[in-house]
Symmetry: C2
Subunit: 312 residues, 2 copies
Amino acid sequence: MKCCFGVDIGGTTVKMGLFEESGAIIDKWEITTDTSDEGKAILPNIAASIEKKLGEHELDKEDILGIGAGVPAPVTADGVVNGSANLGWNYKEVKKELEELTGLRAEIGNDANVAALGEMWKGGGAGEKNMIMVTLGTGVGGGVIIDGKMLVGQNGAGGEIGHLCVNYEETDKCGCGNRGCLEQYASATGIVRLAKKKLGQDLRPTCLNKEDVTAKDVFDAVKEGDEIAKKIAAEFGTYLGHALANLAAVTDPAVFVIGGGVSKAGEVLISYIQKPYMERAFFANQNVRFTLATLGNDAGICGAAKLVIDKA
Amino acid sequence: MKCCFGVDIGGTTVKMGLFEESGAIIDKWEITTDTSDEGKAILPNIAASIEKKLGEHELDKEDILGIGAGVPAPVTADGVVNGSANLGWNYKEVKKELEELTGLRAEIGNDANVAALGEMWKGGGAGEKNMIMVTLGTGVGGGVIIDGKMLVGQNGAGGEIGHLCVNYEETDKCGCGNRGCLEQYASATGIVRLAKKKLGQDLRPTCLNKEDVTAKDVFDAVKEGDEIAKKIAAEFGTYLGHALANLAAVTDPAVFVIGGGVSKAGEVLISYIQKPYMERAFFANQNVRFTLATLGNDAGICGAAKLVIDKA
Protein backbone atom coordinates (compact mmCIF):
# COMPACT_ATOMS: atom_id res chain seq x y z
CA MET A 1 0.00 0.00 0.00
CA LYS A 2 1.45 3.32 -1.09
CA CYS A 3 0.96 6.62 0.73
CA CYS A 4 0.59 10.26 -0.26
CA PHE A 5 0.50 13.72 1.27
CA GLY A 6 -2.51 16.03 1.18
CA VAL A 7 -1.73 19.72 1.78
CA ASP A 8 -4.20 22.57 2.23
CA ILE A 9 -2.39 25.90 2.00
CA GLY A 10 -4.28 28.70 3.75
CA GLY A 11 -3.37 32.28 4.57
CA THR A 12 -2.71 31.49 8.25
CA THR A 13 -1.89 27.79 8.48
CA VAL A 14 -0.93 24.98 6.15
CA LYS A 15 -2.92 21.86 7.03
CA MET A 16 -1.18 18.63 6.13
CA GLY A 17 -2.06 14.94 6.14
CA LEU A 18 -0.34 11.65 5.39
CA PHE A 19 -2.79 9.25 3.74
CA GLU A 20 -2.90 5.64 2.71
CA GLU A 21 -3.99 5.19 -0.90
CA SER A 22 -7.24 3.72 0.45
CA GLY A 23 -8.09 7.02 2.12
CA ALA A 24 -7.13 6.23 5.71
CA ILE A 25 -5.43 9.16 7.46
CA ILE A 26 -2.12 8.04 9.02
CA ASP A 27 -1.11 11.41 10.45
CA LYS A 28 -2.44 14.97 10.45
CA TRP A 29 -0.69 18.16 11.50
CA GLU A 30 -0.31 21.82 10.58
CA ILE A 31 2.42 24.42 10.18
CA THR A 32 2.24 28.21 10.13
CA THR A 33 2.00 29.93 6.75
CA ASP A 34 4.88 32.36 6.43
CA THR A 35 3.49 35.00 4.05
CA SER A 36 6.40 37.40 4.55
CA ASP A 37 8.61 38.33 1.59
CA GLU A 38 5.97 37.39 -1.04
CA GLY A 39 5.43 34.04 0.64
CA LYS A 40 8.71 32.65 -0.65
CA ALA A 41 9.21 30.33 2.36
CA ILE A 42 5.81 28.63 2.07
CA LEU A 43 6.78 25.83 -0.32
CA PRO A 44 10.24 25.21 1.26
CA ASN A 45 8.56 24.98 4.68
CA ILE A 46 6.10 22.42 3.32
CA ALA A 47 8.93 20.43 1.76
CA ALA A 48 10.86 20.43 5.05
CA SER A 49 7.79 19.30 6.98
CA ILE A 50 7.26 16.44 4.52
CA GLU A 51 10.90 15.33 4.86
CA LYS A 52 10.52 15.30 8.63
CA LYS A 53 7.33 13.21 8.51
CA LEU A 54 8.93 10.71 6.14
CA GLY A 55 11.61 10.20 8.79
CA GLU A 56 9.13 9.94 11.67
CA HIS A 57 7.10 7.29 9.85
CA GLU A 58 10.18 5.53 8.44
CA LEU A 59 8.93 5.92 4.88
CA ASP A 60 11.05 6.07 1.70
CA LYS A 61 10.15 8.33 -1.18
CA GLU A 62 9.45 5.15 -3.19
CA ASP A 63 6.52 4.52 -0.83
CA ILE A 64 4.96 7.88 -1.72
CA LEU A 65 2.68 8.46 -4.72
CA GLY A 66 3.13 12.19 -4.46
CA ILE A 67 1.86 15.40 -2.90
CA GLY A 68 -1.50 17.00 -3.61
CA ALA A 69 -2.00 20.63 -2.63
CA GLY A 70 -4.87 23.10 -2.56
CA VAL A 71 -4.09 26.80 -2.97
CA PRO A 72 -6.34 29.85 -2.33
CA ALA A 73 -6.17 31.08 -5.94
CA PRO A 74 -7.07 29.97 -9.45
CA VAL A 75 -4.65 27.22 -10.52
CA THR A 76 -4.19 26.31 -14.18
CA ALA A 77 -4.24 22.70 -15.36
CA ASP A 78 -0.42 22.64 -15.32
CA GLY A 79 -0.13 23.80 -11.72
CA VAL A 80 0.61 27.49 -12.18
CA VAL A 81 -0.78 30.30 -10.00
CA ASN A 82 -0.95 33.84 -11.36
CA GLY A 83 -1.10 35.42 -7.94
CA SER A 84 -2.61 34.70 -4.53
CA ALA A 85 -3.39 37.68 -2.30
CA ASN A 86 -3.75 35.44 0.77
CA LEU A 87 -0.27 33.93 0.35
CA GLY A 88 1.58 36.97 -1.01
CA TRP A 89 2.41 35.08 -4.20
CA ASN A 90 2.73 36.59 -7.63
CA TYR A 91 3.22 34.29 -10.66
CA LYS A 92 4.38 30.95 -9.30
CA GLU A 93 4.93 27.55 -10.91
CA VAL A 94 3.70 25.72 -7.81
CA LYS A 95 3.75 22.19 -9.22
CA LYS A 96 7.24 22.54 -10.64
CA GLU A 97 8.70 24.20 -7.51
CA LEU A 98 7.19 21.69 -5.12
CA GLU A 99 8.41 18.79 -7.26
CA GLU A 100 11.93 20.23 -7.36
CA LEU A 101 11.95 20.86 -3.60
CA THR A 102 10.76 17.37 -2.65
CA GLY A 103 11.70 15.05 -5.50
CA LEU A 104 8.08 13.87 -5.39
CA ARG A 105 5.33 14.29 -7.95
CA ALA A 106 2.97 17.17 -7.08
CA GLU A 107 -0.56 17.99 -8.23
CA ILE A 108 -2.02 21.40 -7.47
CA GLY A 109 -5.62 22.65 -7.44
CA ASN A 110 -7.73 25.56 -6.28
CA ASP A 111 -8.60 25.05 -2.60
CA ALA A 112 -12.38 25.18 -3.06
CA ASN A 113 -12.24 22.73 -5.96
CA VAL A 114 -9.93 20.44 -4.00
CA ALA A 115 -12.26 20.52 -0.96
CA ALA A 116 -15.11 19.49 -3.28
CA LEU A 117 -13.04 16.53 -4.45
CA GLY A 118 -12.46 15.59 -0.81
CA GLU A 119 -16.19 15.64 -0.03
CA MET A 120 -16.81 13.47 -3.11
CA TRP A 121 -14.17 10.97 -1.99
CA LYS A 122 -14.91 10.60 1.69
CA GLY A 123 -17.62 13.10 2.66
CA GLY A 124 -21.15 14.19 1.81
CA GLY A 125 -20.77 13.27 -1.85
CA ALA A 126 -19.25 9.80 -1.31
CA GLY A 127 -20.33 7.36 -3.99
CA GLU A 128 -21.13 10.06 -6.56
CA LYS A 129 -19.14 11.27 -9.57
CA ASN A 130 -21.16 14.36 -10.46
CA MET A 131 -21.34 16.73 -7.54
CA ILE A 132 -21.39 20.41 -6.68
CA MET A 133 -19.98 21.63 -3.41
CA VAL A 134 -21.17 25.00 -2.15
CA THR A 135 -19.12 26.51 0.67
CA LEU A 136 -21.02 29.16 2.61
CA GLY A 137 -18.38 30.97 4.64
CA THR A 138 -17.23 34.58 4.76
CA GLY A 139 -17.73 34.37 1.00
CA VAL A 140 -19.40 31.76 -1.17
CA GLY A 141 -17.00 29.27 -2.72
CA GLY A 142 -17.64 26.25 -4.78
CA GLY A 143 -16.32 23.28 -6.60
CA VAL A 144 -17.85 21.40 -9.49
CA ILE A 145 -17.00 17.73 -9.91
CA ILE A 146 -17.84 16.22 -13.30
CA ASP A 147 -17.37 12.50 -13.85
CA GLY A 148 -15.12 12.34 -10.78
CA LYS A 149 -12.85 15.21 -11.81
CA MET A 150 -12.61 18.85 -10.74
CA LEU A 151 -13.88 21.36 -13.29
CA VAL A 152 -10.73 23.51 -13.59
CA GLY A 153 -11.42 25.59 -16.73
CA GLN A 154 -9.18 27.65 -18.94
CA ASN A 155 -7.79 29.94 -16.21
CA GLY A 156 -8.30 27.66 -13.22
CA ALA A 157 -11.33 29.76 -12.31
CA GLY A 158 -13.99 27.05 -12.76
CA GLY A 159 -16.65 26.76 -10.06
CA GLU A 160 -16.68 30.44 -8.99
CA ILE A 161 -20.33 30.10 -8.06
CA GLY A 162 -20.20 32.92 -5.50
CA HIS A 163 -20.05 35.28 -8.45
CA LEU A 164 -23.11 34.09 -10.32
CA CYS A 165 -25.31 37.13 -10.73
CA VAL A 166 -28.64 36.42 -9.04
CA ASN A 167 -30.08 39.94 -8.86
CA TYR A 168 -29.61 42.37 -11.75
CA GLU A 169 -31.38 45.12 -9.76
CA GLU A 170 -28.85 45.12 -6.88
CA THR A 171 -27.26 48.52 -6.16
CA ASP A 172 -24.66 47.42 -3.55
CA LYS A 173 -21.29 46.28 -4.88
CA CYS A 174 -19.77 42.83 -4.33
CA GLY A 175 -16.06 42.54 -3.43
CA CYS A 176 -15.40 41.48 -7.05
CA GLY A 177 -16.70 44.81 -8.39
CA ASN A 178 -19.97 43.45 -9.85
CA ARG A 179 -23.44 43.88 -8.36
CA GLY A 180 -25.88 41.11 -7.46
CA CYS A 181 -23.42 38.24 -6.91
CA LEU A 182 -24.71 35.19 -5.01
CA GLU A 183 -22.06 35.90 -2.37
CA GLN A 184 -23.95 39.11 -1.46
CA TYR A 185 -26.92 37.03 -0.26
CA ALA A 186 -25.71 33.57 0.68
CA SER A 187 -22.41 34.03 2.53
CA ALA A 188 -22.27 34.65 6.29
CA THR A 189 -21.70 38.34 5.53
CA GLY A 190 -24.46 38.28 2.94
CA ILE A 191 -26.94 36.85 5.43
CA VAL A 192 -26.02 39.62 7.89
CA ARG A 193 -26.62 42.16 5.12
CA LEU A 194 -30.07 40.68 4.38
CA ALA A 195 -30.84 40.57 8.12
CA LYS A 196 -29.92 44.21 8.72
CA LYS A 197 -32.10 45.32 5.80
CA LYS A 198 -35.00 43.23 7.00
CA LEU A 199 -34.65 44.36 10.62
CA GLY A 200 -34.68 47.96 9.44
CA GLN A 201 -37.94 47.47 7.51
CA ASP A 202 -40.00 44.88 9.39
CA LEU A 203 -40.77 46.08 12.89
CA ARG A 204 -42.50 42.98 14.25
CA PRO A 205 -41.05 41.57 17.49
CA THR A 206 -37.95 39.41 17.01
CA CYS A 207 -35.13 38.03 19.11
CA LEU A 208 -32.61 39.33 16.54
CA ASN A 209 -30.63 42.47 17.29
CA LYS A 210 -29.96 44.67 14.26
CA GLU A 211 -26.66 45.96 15.59
CA ASP A 212 -24.77 42.71 16.08
CA VAL A 213 -26.74 40.02 14.23
CA THR A 214 -24.77 37.05 12.81
CA ALA A 215 -25.70 34.32 10.31
CA LYS A 216 -25.71 31.87 13.23
CA ASP A 217 -28.15 34.10 15.15
CA VAL A 218 -30.51 34.05 12.18
CA PHE A 219 -30.66 30.25 11.95
CA ASP A 220 -30.80 29.84 15.72
CA ALA A 221 -33.80 32.18 15.72
CA VAL A 222 -35.37 30.20 12.83
CA LYS A 223 -35.20 27.10 15.03
CA GLU A 224 -36.99 29.06 17.80
CA GLY A 225 -39.78 29.92 15.35
CA ASP A 226 -38.87 33.61 14.99
CA GLU A 227 -40.98 34.95 12.08
CA ILE A 228 -38.55 37.68 11.02
CA ALA A 229 -35.66 35.20 11.02
CA LYS A 230 -37.74 32.85 8.85
CA LYS A 231 -38.25 35.65 6.32
CA ILE A 232 -34.50 36.30 6.20
CA ALA A 233 -33.77 32.57 5.78
CA ALA A 234 -36.37 32.38 3.01
CA GLU A 235 -34.75 35.27 1.14
CA PHE A 236 -31.31 33.64 1.50
CA GLY A 237 -32.74 30.30 0.34
CA THR A 238 -34.50 31.78 -2.66
CA TYR A 239 -31.36 33.39 -4.04
CA LEU A 240 -29.29 30.27 -3.39
CA GLY A 241 -31.91 27.75 -4.54
CA HIS A 242 -32.53 29.62 -7.78
CA ALA A 243 -28.79 29.89 -8.44
CA LEU A 244 -28.36 26.16 -7.86
CA ALA A 245 -31.20 25.41 -10.29
CA ASN A 246 -29.30 27.34 -12.96
CA LEU A 247 -26.08 25.55 -12.03
CA ALA A 248 -27.84 22.21 -12.37
CA ALA A 249 -29.12 23.03 -15.88
CA VAL A 250 -25.50 23.40 -16.96
CA THR A 251 -23.74 20.69 -14.94
CA ASP A 252 -26.47 18.08 -14.16
CA PRO A 253 -25.15 16.93 -10.75
CA ALA A 254 -26.35 13.97 -8.66
CA VAL A 255 -25.88 15.84 -5.39
CA PHE A 256 -25.29 19.28 -3.90
CA VAL A 257 -23.05 19.22 -0.84
CA ILE A 258 -23.44 22.29 1.39
CA GLY A 259 -20.46 23.17 3.57
CA GLY A 260 -18.74 26.12 5.25
CA GLY A 261 -19.49 27.86 8.55
CA VAL A 262 -23.10 28.69 7.65
CA SER A 263 -23.84 24.98 7.06
CA LYS A 264 -23.42 24.35 10.80
CA ALA A 265 -27.06 25.46 11.00
CA GLY A 266 -27.81 21.90 9.87
CA GLU A 267 -30.72 20.35 8.00
CA VAL A 268 -32.96 23.40 8.44
CA LEU A 269 -30.68 25.19 5.97
CA ILE A 270 -31.35 22.60 3.31
CA SER A 271 -35.11 22.95 3.63
CA TYR A 272 -34.79 26.66 2.85
CA ILE A 273 -32.67 25.97 -0.25
CA GLN A 274 -34.49 22.94 -1.64
CA LYS A 275 -37.96 24.47 -1.99
CA PRO A 276 -36.95 27.37 -4.28
CA TYR A 277 -34.61 25.00 -6.10
CA MET A 278 -37.51 22.71 -6.96
CA GLU A 279 -39.62 25.66 -8.14
CA ARG A 280 -37.03 26.49 -10.78
CA ALA A 281 -35.14 23.28 -11.60
CA PHE A 282 -35.27 21.92 -15.16
CA PHE A 283 -37.24 18.65 -15.16
CA ALA A 284 -34.10 16.53 -15.74
CA ASN A 285 -32.54 17.98 -12.57
CA GLN A 286 -35.37 17.43 -10.10
CA ASN A 287 -33.97 14.27 -8.52
CA VAL A 288 -30.78 15.88 -7.27
CA ARG A 289 -30.02 15.30 -3.59
CA PHE A 290 -29.03 18.00 -1.08
CA THR A 291 -26.74 17.04 1.76
CA LEU A 292 -24.41 18.63 4.29
CA ALA A 293 -20.62 18.43 4.06
CA THR A 294 -19.16 16.04 6.62
CA LEU A 295 -15.38 16.53 6.53
CA GLY A 296 -15.19 20.05 7.95
CA ASN A 297 -11.63 21.35 7.91
CA ASP A 298 -10.31 18.01 6.63
CA ALA A 299 -11.99 18.36 3.22
CA GLY A 300 -8.97 20.22 1.84
CA ILE A 301 -6.30 17.69 2.83
CA CYS A 302 -8.51 14.77 1.77
CA GLY A 303 -9.22 16.28 -1.65
CA ALA A 304 -5.56 17.14 -2.13
CA ALA A 305 -4.62 13.51 -1.41
CA LYS A 306 -7.30 12.29 -3.85
CA LEU A 307 -5.97 14.67 -6.52
CA VAL A 308 -2.57 13.03 -6.51
CA ILE A 309 -3.97 9.49 -6.18
CA ASP A 310 -6.18 10.01 -9.26
CA LYS A 311 -3.25 11.13 -11.38
CA ALA A 312 -0.84 8.45 -10.13
CA MET B 1 -4.81 5.24 -40.97
CA LYS B 2 -8.03 3.95 -39.43
CA CYS B 3 -11.49 5.28 -40.21
CA CYS B 4 -14.72 5.83 -38.28
CA PHE B 5 -18.35 6.72 -38.81
CA GLY B 6 -20.02 9.85 -37.46
CA VAL B 7 -23.81 9.70 -37.27
CA ASP B 8 -26.21 12.55 -36.43
CA ILE B 9 -29.67 11.14 -35.76
CA GLY B 10 -32.41 13.74 -36.27
CA GLY B 11 -36.19 13.51 -36.31
CA THR B 12 -36.37 13.72 -40.13
CA THR B 13 -33.01 12.55 -41.48
CA VAL B 14 -29.97 10.70 -40.21
CA LYS B 15 -26.81 12.45 -41.40
CA MET B 16 -23.83 10.16 -41.76
CA GLY B 17 -20.13 10.55 -42.50
CA LEU B 18 -17.13 8.33 -43.03
CA PHE B 19 -14.02 9.97 -41.56
CA GLU B 20 -10.31 9.39 -41.49
CA GLU B 21 -8.89 9.47 -37.96
CA SER B 22 -7.18 12.74 -38.91
CA GLY B 23 -10.57 14.38 -39.44
CA ALA B 24 -10.78 14.29 -43.24
CA ILE B 25 -14.28 13.45 -44.51
CA ILE B 26 -14.14 10.53 -47.00
CA ASP B 27 -17.86 10.34 -47.67
CA LYS B 28 -21.04 12.03 -46.49
CA TRP B 29 -24.66 11.00 -47.04
CA GLU B 30 -28.02 10.83 -45.33
CA ILE B 31 -30.92 8.44 -44.88
CA THR B 32 -34.51 9.05 -43.84
CA THR B 33 -35.37 8.62 -40.14
CA ASP B 34 -38.16 6.08 -39.83
CA THR B 35 -39.90 7.11 -36.63
CA SER B 36 -42.86 4.71 -37.13
CA ASP B 37 -43.47 1.96 -34.56
CA GLU B 38 -41.53 3.70 -31.77
CA GLY B 39 -38.57 4.26 -34.07
CA LYS B 40 -37.56 0.62 -33.96
CA ALA B 41 -36.09 0.63 -37.49
CA ILE B 42 -33.77 3.62 -36.91
CA LEU B 43 -30.73 1.75 -35.59
CA PRO B 44 -31.11 -1.26 -37.98
CA ASN B 45 -31.34 1.19 -40.92
CA ILE B 46 -28.15 2.91 -39.75
CA ALA B 47 -26.40 -0.45 -39.40
CA ALA B 48 -27.46 -1.47 -42.92
CA SER B 49 -26.26 1.84 -44.35
CA ILE B 50 -22.88 1.38 -42.68
CA GLU B 51 -22.54 -2.18 -44.05
CA LYS B 52 -23.26 -0.84 -47.54
CA LYS B 53 -20.68 1.93 -47.26
CA LEU B 54 -18.03 -0.49 -46.01
CA GLY B 55 -18.61 -2.47 -49.23
CA GLU B 56 -18.55 0.62 -51.48
CA HIS B 57 -15.25 1.79 -49.98
CA GLU B 58 -13.80 -1.74 -49.78
CA LEU B 59 -13.17 -1.41 -46.05
CA ASP B 60 -12.99 -4.22 -43.49
CA LYS B 61 -14.36 -3.83 -39.98
CA GLU B 62 -10.77 -4.05 -38.74
CA ASP B 63 -10.14 -0.71 -40.48
CA ILE B 64 -12.89 0.96 -38.47
CA LEU B 65 -12.39 2.48 -34.99
CA GLY B 66 -16.11 2.56 -34.37
CA ILE B 67 -19.30 4.56 -34.74
CA GLY B 68 -20.07 7.79 -32.93
CA ALA B 69 -23.66 8.96 -32.81
CA GLY B 70 -25.53 12.04 -31.62
CA VAL B 71 -29.13 11.62 -30.47
CA PRO B 72 -31.80 14.31 -29.79
CA ALA B 73 -32.22 13.37 -26.12
CA PRO B 74 -30.22 13.22 -22.90
CA VAL B 75 -27.79 10.28 -23.13
CA THR B 76 -26.19 8.79 -20.01
CA ALA B 77 -22.46 8.12 -19.81
CA ASP B 78 -23.09 4.47 -20.70
CA GLY B 79 -25.05 5.25 -23.86
CA VAL B 80 -28.62 4.86 -22.63
CA VAL B 81 -31.55 7.08 -23.67
CA ASN B 82 -34.61 7.31 -21.45
CA GLY B 83 -36.87 8.51 -24.23
CA SER B 84 -36.66 10.74 -27.30
CA ALA B 85 -39.86 12.41 -28.46
CA ASN B 86 -38.31 13.27 -31.85
CA LEU B 87 -37.40 9.65 -32.61
CA GLY B 88 -40.33 7.90 -30.94
CA TRP B 89 -37.98 6.05 -28.61
CA ASN B 90 -38.74 5.04 -25.05
CA TYR B 91 -35.94 3.55 -22.91
CA LYS B 92 -33.24 2.37 -25.30
CA GLU B 93 -29.73 1.03 -24.77
CA VAL B 94 -28.44 2.78 -27.88
CA LYS B 95 -24.75 1.96 -27.47
CA LYS B 96 -25.42 -1.73 -26.82
CA GLU B 97 -27.94 -2.13 -29.65
CA LEU B 98 -25.79 -0.37 -32.21
CA GLU B 99 -22.76 -2.44 -31.21
CA GLU B 100 -24.75 -5.67 -31.52
CA LEU B 101 -26.17 -4.66 -34.89
CA THR B 102 -22.82 -3.69 -36.42
CA GLY B 103 -20.14 -5.60 -34.54
CA LEU B 104 -18.38 -2.23 -34.16
CA ARG B 105 -17.73 -0.17 -31.04
CA ALA B 106 -20.26 2.64 -30.60
CA GLU B 107 -20.16 5.85 -28.54
CA ILE B 108 -23.35 7.85 -28.06
CA GLY B 109 -23.91 11.45 -26.97
CA ASN B 110 -26.57 14.13 -26.87
CA ASP B 111 -26.74 15.83 -30.29
CA ALA B 112 -26.09 19.36 -28.98
CA ASN B 113 -23.10 18.19 -26.91
CA VAL B 114 -21.76 16.20 -29.85
CA ALA B 115 -22.09 19.21 -32.17
CA ALA B 116 -20.09 21.25 -29.64
CA LEU B 117 -17.36 18.60 -29.74
CA GLY B 118 -17.37 18.87 -33.54
CA GLU B 119 -16.93 22.65 -33.43
CA MET B 120 -14.04 22.20 -30.98
CA TRP B 121 -12.36 19.66 -33.24
CA LYS B 122 -12.70 21.27 -36.64
CA GLY B 123 -14.82 24.42 -36.32
CA GLY B 124 -15.06 27.71 -34.46
CA GLY B 125 -13.42 26.31 -31.33
CA ALA B 126 -10.50 24.57 -33.06
CA GLY B 127 -7.36 24.63 -30.92
CA GLU B 128 -9.25 25.08 -27.65
CA LYS B 129 -10.10 22.53 -24.95
CA ASN B 130 -12.50 24.62 -22.86
CA MET B 131 -15.40 25.81 -24.97
CA ILE B 132 -19.10 26.52 -24.83
CA MET B 133 -21.25 26.15 -27.89
CA VAL B 134 -24.54 28.02 -27.96
CA THR B 135 -26.97 26.95 -30.67
CA LEU B 136 -29.60 29.59 -31.40
CA GLY B 137 -32.25 27.78 -33.44
CA THR B 138 -35.95 27.14 -32.87
CA GLY B 139 -34.84 26.62 -29.28
CA VAL B 140 -31.55 27.37 -27.52
CA GLY B 141 -29.26 24.37 -27.23
CA GLY B 142 -25.79 24.10 -25.93
CA GLY B 143 -22.79 22.00 -25.26
CA VAL B 144 -20.07 22.52 -22.69
CA ILE B 145 -16.60 21.15 -23.43
CA ILE B 146 -14.26 20.92 -20.44
CA ASP B 147 -10.66 19.88 -20.98
CA GLY B 148 -11.57 18.49 -24.39
CA LYS B 149 -14.51 16.39 -23.20
CA MET B 150 -18.28 16.86 -23.32
CA LEU B 151 -19.90 17.73 -20.01
CA VAL B 152 -22.45 14.89 -19.85
CA GLY B 153 -23.63 15.00 -16.23
CA GLN B 154 -25.53 12.52 -14.10
CA ASN B 155 -28.57 12.17 -16.37
CA GLY B 156 -26.95 13.15 -19.66
CA ALA B 157 -28.61 16.54 -19.32
CA GLY B 158 -25.45 18.66 -19.01
CA GLY B 159 -25.29 21.86 -21.05
CA GLU B 160 -29.04 22.61 -21.09
CA ILE B 161 -28.28 26.30 -21.28
CA GLY B 162 -31.56 27.16 -22.99
CA HIS B 163 -33.21 26.54 -19.64
CA LEU B 164 -31.12 28.86 -17.52
CA CYS B 165 -33.57 31.24 -15.87
CA VAL B 166 -32.67 34.78 -16.92
CA ASN B 167 -35.83 36.61 -15.86
CA TYR B 168 -37.61 35.69 -12.63
CA GLU B 169 -40.39 38.21 -13.41
CA GLU B 170 -41.46 36.54 -16.67
CA THR B 171 -45.16 35.60 -16.83
CA ASP B 172 -45.13 33.64 -20.15
CA LYS B 173 -44.34 29.93 -19.92
CA CYS B 174 -41.42 28.21 -21.64
CA GLY B 175 -42.01 24.85 -23.37
CA CYS B 176 -40.30 23.18 -20.39
CA GLY B 177 -42.96 24.48 -17.98
CA ASN B 178 -40.76 27.05 -16.26
CA ARG B 179 -40.89 30.82 -16.78
CA GLY B 180 -38.01 33.08 -17.80
CA CYS B 181 -35.80 30.52 -19.60
CA LEU B 182 -33.07 31.89 -21.89
CA GLU B 183 -34.80 30.11 -24.77
CA GLN B 184 -37.75 32.52 -24.40
CA TYR B 185 -35.49 35.44 -25.40
CA ALA B 186 -32.59 34.12 -27.44
CA SER B 187 -34.02 31.48 -29.79
CA ALA B 188 -35.47 32.36 -33.21
CA THR B 189 -38.94 32.05 -31.66
CA GLY B 190 -37.83 34.04 -28.62
CA ILE B 191 -36.57 36.89 -30.79
CA VAL B 192 -39.92 36.96 -32.61
CA ARG B 193 -41.65 37.13 -29.23
CA LEU B 194 -39.46 40.08 -28.14
CA ALA B 195 -40.04 41.74 -31.52
CA LYS B 196 -43.83 41.45 -31.37
CA LYS B 197 -43.88 42.91 -27.85
CA LYS B 198 -41.62 45.78 -28.89
CA LEU B 199 -43.57 46.50 -32.09
CA GLY B 200 -46.77 46.64 -30.04
CA GLN B 201 -45.29 49.24 -27.66
CA ASP B 202 -42.89 51.39 -29.66
CA LEU B 203 -44.68 53.15 -32.48
CA ARG B 204 -41.69 54.81 -34.16
CA PRO B 205 -41.30 54.07 -37.89
CA THR B 206 -39.65 50.71 -38.66
CA CYS B 207 -39.29 48.36 -41.60
CA LEU B 208 -40.40 45.45 -39.40
CA ASN B 209 -43.92 44.12 -39.74
CA LYS B 210 -45.48 42.96 -36.45
CA GLU B 211 -47.61 40.27 -38.12
CA ASP B 212 -44.91 38.21 -39.82
CA VAL B 213 -41.58 39.30 -38.33
CA THR B 214 -38.77 36.70 -38.16
CA ALA B 215 -35.44 36.65 -36.32
CA LYS B 216 -33.72 37.11 -39.68
CA ASP B 217 -35.87 40.21 -40.40
CA VAL B 218 -34.74 41.72 -37.10
CA PHE B 219 -31.02 41.34 -37.81
CA ASP B 220 -31.44 42.39 -41.46
CA ALA B 221 -33.14 45.55 -40.18
CA VAL B 222 -30.34 46.09 -37.63
CA LYS B 223 -27.88 46.12 -40.53
CA GLU B 224 -30.05 48.76 -42.26
CA GLY B 225 -29.86 50.93 -39.11
CA ASP B 226 -33.48 50.40 -38.02
CA GLU B 227 -33.76 51.84 -34.49
CA ILE B 228 -36.55 49.55 -33.31
CA ALA B 229 -34.69 46.48 -34.59
CA LYS B 230 -31.61 47.65 -32.68
CA LYS B 231 -33.63 47.83 -29.47
CA ILE B 232 -34.88 44.27 -30.00
CA ALA B 233 -31.36 43.04 -30.72
CA ALA B 234 -30.09 44.79 -27.59
CA GLU B 235 -32.73 43.11 -25.45
CA PHE B 236 -31.85 39.70 -26.96
CA GLY B 237 -28.14 40.38 -26.41
CA THR B 238 -28.59 41.48 -22.81
CA TYR B 239 -30.37 38.30 -21.79
CA LEU B 240 -27.90 36.12 -23.67
CA GLY B 241 -24.76 38.04 -22.65
CA HIS B 242 -25.73 38.02 -18.99
CA ALA B 243 -26.51 34.30 -19.12
CA LEU B 244 -23.12 33.59 -20.71
CA ALA B 245 -21.37 35.61 -17.99
CA ASN B 246 -22.97 33.31 -15.39
CA LEU B 247 -22.02 30.26 -17.44
CA ALA B 248 -18.44 31.47 -17.58
CA ALA B 249 -18.23 31.90 -13.79
CA VAL B 250 -18.97 28.19 -13.47
CA THR B 251 -17.13 26.70 -16.45
CA ASP B 252 -14.33 29.20 -17.25
CA PRO B 253 -14.21 28.68 -21.04
CA ALA B 254 -11.63 30.00 -23.51
CA VAL B 255 -14.21 30.60 -26.22
CA PHE B 256 -17.95 30.84 -26.87
CA VAL B 257 -18.96 29.46 -30.27
CA ILE B 258 -22.32 30.78 -31.48
CA GLY B 259 -24.18 28.58 -33.97
CA GLY B 260 -27.69 27.72 -35.16
CA GLY B 261 -29.94 29.48 -37.67
CA VAL B 262 -29.91 32.82 -35.81
CA SER B 263 -26.10 32.94 -36.06
CA LYS B 264 -26.38 33.43 -39.84
CA ALA B 265 -26.85 37.12 -38.94
CA GLY B 266 -23.04 37.10 -38.60
CA GLU B 267 -20.64 39.24 -36.61
CA VAL B 268 -23.26 41.86 -35.75
CA LEU B 269 -24.84 39.25 -33.49
CA ILE B 270 -21.65 38.91 -31.48
CA SER B 271 -21.39 42.65 -30.87
CA TYR B 272 -24.84 42.56 -29.25
CA ILE B 273 -23.87 39.65 -26.98
CA GLN B 274 -20.34 40.69 -26.04
CA LYS B 275 -21.11 44.11 -24.55
CA PRO B 276 -23.58 42.91 -21.87
CA TYR B 277 -21.31 39.89 -21.28
CA MET B 278 -18.40 42.20 -20.42
CA GLU B 279 -20.61 44.26 -18.09
CA ARG B 280 -21.28 41.19 -15.97
CA ALA B 281 -18.34 38.81 -16.43
CA PHE B 282 -16.24 37.85 -13.39
CA PHE B 283 -12.76 39.34 -13.80
CA ALA B 284 -11.15 35.96 -14.49
CA ASN B 285 -13.50 35.44 -17.45
CA GLN B 286 -13.03 38.71 -19.29
CA ASN B 287 -10.59 37.40 -21.89
CA VAL B 288 -12.96 34.85 -23.36
CA ARG B 289 -13.35 34.98 -27.15
CA PHE B 290 -16.67 35.00 -29.04
CA THR B 291 -16.79 33.42 -32.46
CA LEU B 292 -19.28 32.01 -34.95
CA ALA B 293 -19.70 28.30 -35.61
CA THR B 294 -18.23 27.25 -38.95
CA LEU B 295 -19.36 23.67 -39.57
CA GLY B 296 -23.08 24.27 -40.03
CA ASN B 297 -24.94 20.97 -40.46
CA ASP B 298 -21.71 18.98 -40.40
CA ALA B 299 -21.00 19.77 -36.72
CA GLY B 300 -23.01 16.74 -35.61
CA ILE B 301 -21.29 14.12 -37.77
CA CYS B 302 -17.86 15.63 -37.04
CA GLY B 303 -18.43 15.62 -33.28
CA ALA B 304 -19.79 12.08 -33.41
CA ALA B 305 -16.64 10.93 -35.21
CA LYS B 306 -14.47 12.73 -32.65
CA LEU B 307 -16.39 11.07 -29.81
CA VAL B 308 -15.42 7.60 -30.99
CA ILE B 309 -11.85 8.61 -31.90
CA ASP B 310 -11.29 10.01 -28.38
CA LYS B 311 -12.43 6.78 -26.73
CA ALA B 312 -10.53 4.45 -29.10
